[in-house]
Amino acid sequence: MPPFEKILLKNMETPGYTGSLADYERGGGYQALRKVLGKIPPAEITETVKKSGLRGRGGAGFPTGVKWGFLPKDYQGPKYLCCNADESEPGTFKDRQLIERDPHQMIEGMLLACYAIGVETAYIYIRGEFVLGAQILERALAEARMAGYVGQNILGARTSINIWVHRGAGAYICGEETALLESLEGKRGLPRVKPPFPATHGLYNKPTVVNNVETLANLPHIINRGAEWFAAIGSPPKSSGTRIFCVSGHVKRPGNFEVPMGTTLRELIFEHAGGMRSDKPLKAIIPGGASAPFFTPEHLGVKLDFESVAQAGSMLGSGGVTVMEEGTNMVWAALRLMEFFYHESCGKCTPCREGSSWLVQTMRRIVDGRGRNSDLETLVELCQNIAGRTVCAFGDAEVAPIMSTLKYWRHEYEELIQQAAMSAPAELMMPVMGKH
């Protein structure tokens, strides 16, 4: 195999690259836009993206070109594109780097998407805490407007595309695409019941596409180098291209590593991320952000592509890979994630709103040494009554840490409960709701 050439991080890893318009153009930036604008019919772009096999990098992995194809044909009236830059899934920090280090790459991607689907107004929904990221995007958009890439009659063509930055204000759920749309409409970010899907009834009830930052950043490269080139990278046909994996936790060299899909967990953790930080051995891995079920060291051979990770019982999700060393208590780890989900449950669906609170109370009781024998059954029953019973996928996500740690490390739960039985008087074993 020839040495692997990075796609998305290539520019920014070039010494001296600042992410300015001049730097981006020097590396071939906005050539894809020039190539298609007024020269290649929009429908052909969608076909190219379909053929490339590009799938969404935001979590669900939906084929991008197919999603675009769901927009009603010959629709008269406004349509919208929203770039999902909400990046709030614990363990994920790739979009932040794509935004802050190479903003024009994603902007060009947005322009190409807008051109393909006939959108004149697009929004970048960026999480509120990314103050620096929003400033960098505003600056990049101002440069792009000056240069005629964004605004009325782009590069003198008939196409007009405006892009605006819209800051969220601290709510994980607004990364869910329909909650994002609600939030952008000026409401609380509560997910909508689907169907109807955003493709027909999205922002302001108009046809809308929501795509992740990394998904969009791939587009200029696909247009420049062709669908066949992209489709051959990674694990075709189902997982083409690269992924930026965000490695965190107990490794020597945490960070964002762009590798072809299909790279094994072992290679990612032990070669790219430098292996374990100390001589404590590996104990657990989360392969795709907080919503993905845990893996054990037995899974190190799993290939990081959509199908292989799903077959092994987890999901590729957002690309956040968290590594835990021996000595980490898995009940404690699951509780930390459960506290996150409890805090972020938007409150719309009863199973999730109430269930997350009960799960946190039960988990905290076990970790604090007040667990009871019946608690494990309670946990499982609660989880089963949340997953699949909510409007959005948050419900499935929140039970993943508990269900998977119970599957592989049940003895750690049992030990905590046994210790509690030996030490605590029965009257102290009441559920107590702590501060959070």
Partner: protein, 174 residues
Amino acid sequence: MLKETYKAEIDDILSRYPIRRSAVLPLLYLAQKEEGYVSEAAMKEIAGILRLTPPQVYEVVTFYTMFQLKPIAAFHIQVCKSLMCALVGSDTLLRWLKIRLGIGPGETTADKRFTISTVECLASCGTGPMMQVNDDYYEGLTESKLDRILADLKRDGTSPLKSGPFMLPEPMKG
């Protein structure tokens, strides 16, 4: 009044959306910038500008964690306590802060300069433990780095140790 102080900005914001209501988050940010928190008067004014009822603005303010309903300290220290940061020492960071400032999460120093909160993942999971102080991120914190940051903040109101454009692993120098 926001309308007088920020007239041009408000017009610019409104021009970006086909529907006025979409401007609620941007206008709330303006209000918070002006007063340090979102006052009831500001919510009423925003409702007026956007032709909403005040409860329609209030329900939005209370949904999102980044809006303050009461004045808070000059420096709002937000420590990420989600799992990935916890694995590399966010609880220790909270302990260091407690020793230096004498306060824990949810508390404000007597001189009203520092408030500490714990927050969920801020997308710096590879550079934990970390904190956000007002708009700025501070990552890869050690005890001595924290000391320098707190001293800088007290003296200058900001610190050169704040994060710039993010990249990890660190880029090669050009």
